[in-house]
């Protein structure tokens, strides 16, 4: 209960602070421009539902309730690279072409959902309702229990996943075969400082935090092509519409409402 109240306060505080910031002046970025950009950021929605992927098409064809895939359950146990690199799940809903025939043969979800590592997906396991859900009431309740005690964030799942990883609240393994050592390039250890129109909104980017979850080829060169001046189209708007950081940050990784996570010097975050 206390945590719920704290979460509500946390969600309300940034919006109040933003209103204050905008009304008290002193913004380096043109105010109307900033307001326009902020307006395009979709609201966060309930913490329990952030990052959930609902898959309807194939389930409907089979006369089943849609599959609701909660990222939060999985990311506490495995880093992104396990599913998105080792198990080859695509990054876009419907991209992978998962079928019942494939997962019951031990592909995709079936790699872990074999009745031993995680609940099974065979008909005999009778666990269909764990993924095919009429509603997410039970899942949302599980989220409340799960999130208890994890570091707080104002947006996304309301969990600061990076802090949870740092302080050991979660210990996801980085390979399907257990923990493996992935040497991190020395050159990239220092966080990158990326300049913006105003020094107050400069971005601090940690390669190391991203490497803990993915590998270099997940972003380079397809999302960020590394070449100098190649990111001339890099704006908040293009990000919000799913380009660059927006490929992950908005859908599953913390959303861009949480301005201060990247723009460390900014006064506030936006929206709830």
């Amino acid at each position: 209960m206390l945590r719920k109240v704290m979460r509500m306060l946390l969600r309300a505080a940034p919006a109040c602070a933003l209103v204050l910031a905008l009304s008290s002046g002193g913004a380096a970025m043109d105010r109307s421009e900033l307001a326009k950009v902020l307006k395009t950021i979709p609201p966060n929605g309930p913490f329990a539902k952030f990052g959930n992927v609902t898959m309807r098409t194939r389930a409907k064809q089979a006369g089943m309730a849609p599959v609701v895939f909660p990222h939060w359950v999985h990311r506490a146990r495995y880093t992104c690279r396990v599913c998105h690199l080792e198990l080859n799940f695509g990054m876009k809903r419907g991209d992978t072409g998962i079928t019942r025939a494939l997962y019951t043969k031990g592909r995709f979800c079936g790699v872990c959902h074999d009745g031993t590592v995680a609940f099974g997906v065979q008909t005999a396991d009778k666990q269909c309702h764990r993924c095919h859900m009429e509603n997410t009431k039970e899942l949302d309740q599980r989220f409340e229990d799960f999130s208890e005690g994890l570091p707080l964030a104002s947006f996304g799942n309301g969990i600061d996943w990076a802090a949870a990883l740092r302080d050991g609240s979660i210990r996801p393994t980085n390979s399907i075969n257990g923990q493996i050592t992935l040497p991190f390039p020395e050159k990239l250890k220092q966080p990158l400082k990326l300049g913006t129109a105003s020094p107050r909104s400069d971005v601090s980017f940690s390669h190391e935090e991203h490497f803990a979850e993915l590998d270099c080829s997940s972003c380079h060169p397809d999302i960020f092509n590394i070449k100098v001046k190649s990111t001339s189209a890099f704006t908040m708007e293009t990000n919000i519409y799913g380009n660059f950081c927006g490929a992950c940050h908005m859908l599953v990784s913390f959303p861009m409402n949480d301005c201060k996570r990247c723009h460390k010097g900014m006064n506030s975050s936006f929206g709830t």
């Binding site: 695509g90 991209d95 072409g97 998962i98 040497p183 991190f184 590998d215 270099c216 080829s217």
Partner: protein, 100 residues
């Protein structure tokens, strides 16, 4: 060895295996795929020749993956293109720096 020849040899070996023994071949190309695409964090420190070899392997793998069933083809070709593009970029970067 000439990179084109390396590429040809790898592709021929993987394809021959794929046609002769599908089950084993699947494991073989997947192992090659894992091995090849797991080196992206080392791309910055690789030599031009090492990058060329990796690209040759990627091209050979592409041919084999194109013969797989739809879902496998879709997901592995996407992943392969991600790591291939990184190696290609690093190669281009190193070659242009060598010229300076």
């Amino acid at each position: 060895m000439n990179p084109l020849r390396v590429k040809g040899v790898i592709a021929a070996a993987l394809l021959a295996l794929a046609l002769a023994q599908p089950a084993r071949a699947e494991q073989a190309w997947q192992a090659t795929f894992d091995e090849t695409c797991s080196k992206s964090n080392q791309a910055m420190t690789m030599s031009v020749q090492e990058l060329r070899d990796l690209l040759a392997t990627c091209d050979a793998l592409q041919k084999v993956i194109e013969t797989q069933e739809e879902s496998v083809r879709k997901v592995y070709l996407k992943r392969l293109s991600l790591c291939r593009n990184l190696y290609a970029y690093m190669l281009e970067f190193k070659q242009s720096n060598q010229g300076k």
